[in-house]
Amino acid sequence: MATETRIDSPKRSRFEIRDNIWKWIFLLPAVAIIVILLAIPVLWTLYAAFTDLHLYRIGIDTKFVGLANFEKLLSNRSFWRTARNTVVFMLGVVPTQLFIGLTIALALNNITRGQKLFRTWFLMPLMVSPVVVSFIVGRMLFQEDIGPINEILRDLGFQGIPWLTSPTWAMVALMVIDVWQWSSFMILMLLAALQGVPPDLHEAARVDGANQLQAFWSITVPLIMPITMTALLIRIIDAFKVVDIIMVLTGGGPGQATESVTLAIYRTGVKGGDLAFGSSQAYFLLLVLMIFGGAYLVLTRRAMGKD
């Protein structure tokens, strides 16, 4: 009996019957917590999106309004502005992080002495609170009159940049902060990918007459592609959800120039109390993420299958 179970699934134990209770005791708490704190909010928010629920009128005369919130959403220019800001932010930070991540990971993969030291130091930004980075560091460094960045620019003969008062530059400042903080994630992922490439494959290509660039392009790139694609997806989703650095550096301003979708949801639902409209915005964001994530996975799988 025992040998049979082991042939079927060598990792599983043969004490199936005695374990029948433990099996559930170990798993159920986690399931229960996730169901309560994931499923209920998700379903409640879906419900709220189809009503006229307001924070200060909960339980009083709540009406179903059908798709009214979503109609309001689609015709709401201010919401589209925040959607546009979010996409611009994502398009600004993710490719930059990929570029920096790949450059640094290649450099790290190239050296032997001190590699661990650099790797440890590059972990630092991921540990620092986004609030500290954005609020303390960002506001001090990007200060327009006496901040060090503008001082250095002026010393070099340029003009100071209106970091937080110009709509464009405020967005750039936020991107700089995100790139500072999250490039490390790309670095660590891509380094792990590069270290999975067998060095002799590369050598073999070189012996066969390929130059450095050809060997990189034909051997390394295809091999690191799967991890790169996953890392990109994670960063894209996170960039779509951006909120805290915006809240503390610009508050969404000047005007609405840097307000993200998540910040808009916070403003509408928590600050303004309009739970219904906020919920419909949250579902819009979820829908975009799901469509985008799904399409991304299908397309990358297909592209890599063809290679």
């Binding site: 986690a30 409640w44 661990k116 630092m124 609170s129 006496i146 992922m189 639902g269």
Partner: protein, 284 residues
């Protein structure tokens, strides 16, 4: 150019790039450190870069925090400590035993789907939760309490822990556990005396990562707390909105106090943290 010359050139270029990026990462941190030793005057006329050269460093910000106004930031600091530790401990206990169960038991062949169900949480934007949490915790009378944040943060960390730990446990040899059970140990004993110690590196990594997550979280804390249970990040931003004027040297000192413990822990456990961070993606 010979092959060795080419190699040397490549390593010179590599080190230059790495040192350059290290400085980019260092500069903001350096700025916070020197600012915590600055006086108002050092920040009002022009930027000052070097202590003793273009400004005279002083300990007044640190004295202000630790002597004059200790209680002022001690409350939020203790909130952060308590919330982060309790929520991570709960998440670790619940998440790792579920991870163990999913590695060792068969749930009608649906183990992978269960794990994916846990991970689907990663996809959901935080914005989808804050409105429901606000109403939920208001109805429960838990707004502005540590309990609210502990509940949210532990539930937030569980899926990640289940995911990482399941794989970790799967990588451990099952034979040791079996022989212990032949000797009469029960599952609970096996989990705590054998599996958990063997999985210690993984447990440390997920614990520290969820600790850092709770320590740095902002959006939920902003939604659910406002006075008694505020955490350090919230406390710092509140200092400005109230006055419109910021004592940057004090804020810098507080930032350092809040950043140093987690950065030190993360960097000391670099190997485990990196594997925890990159884990999921490397599998996929």
């Amino acid at each position: 150019m010979g092959l060795s010359a080419q190699k040397r050139l490549r390593s010179i270029v590599s080190y230059s790039i790495l040192i350059l990026w290290s400085f980019v990462l260092l500069f903001p941190m350096y700025w916070v450190v020197i600012t915590s030793f600055k006086n108002a005057i050092d920040m009002s006329i022009k930027a000052t870069y070097l202590p003793f050269v273009d400004f005279q460093p002083g300990l007044h910000a640190w004295r202000y925090l630790f002597v004059d106004r200790l209680t002022w930031f001690l409350d939020p600091f203790m909130n952060s400590v308590v919330i982060a530790f309790i929520s991570s401990t709960i998440a670790l206990a619940i998440g790792s035993s579920a991870g163990y169960a999913l590695a060792r038991f068969d749930y009608g062949g649906r183990n992978n789907s269960i794990v994916l169900g846990f991970m689907s949480q990663r996809m959901f934007p935080g914005a989808l939760f804050i409105l429901a949490f606000l109403v939920m915790f208001r109805e429960l009378g838990l707004l502005d309490t540590r309990a609210a944040l502990i509940i949210v943060y532990s539930s937030g960390a569980i899926p990640f822990i289940v995911w990482v730990m399941r794989d970790f446990f799967e990588g451990l040899p099952v034979e040791i556990e079996e022989s212990a059970m032949i000797d009469g140990a029960n599952r609970l004993g096996v989990l705590f005396r054998i599996a958990m110690p063997l999985a210690a590196p993984g447990l440390v990594a997920v614990f520290v990562l969820s600790l850092i997550g709770a320590w740095n979280e902002y959006l939920v804390a902003l939604t659910l707390t406002f006075r008694e249970a505020i955490t350090i990040p919230l406390f710092m931003t509140m200092q400005v909105s109230q006055t419109g004027y910021t004592e940057w040297w004090n804020m810098s000192a507080i930032s350092l106090i809040s950043v140093i413990p987690v950065v030190a822990a993360g960097m000391a456990l670099e190997k485990y943290i990196t594997s925890g961070l990159t884990f999921g993606a490397l599998k996929g």
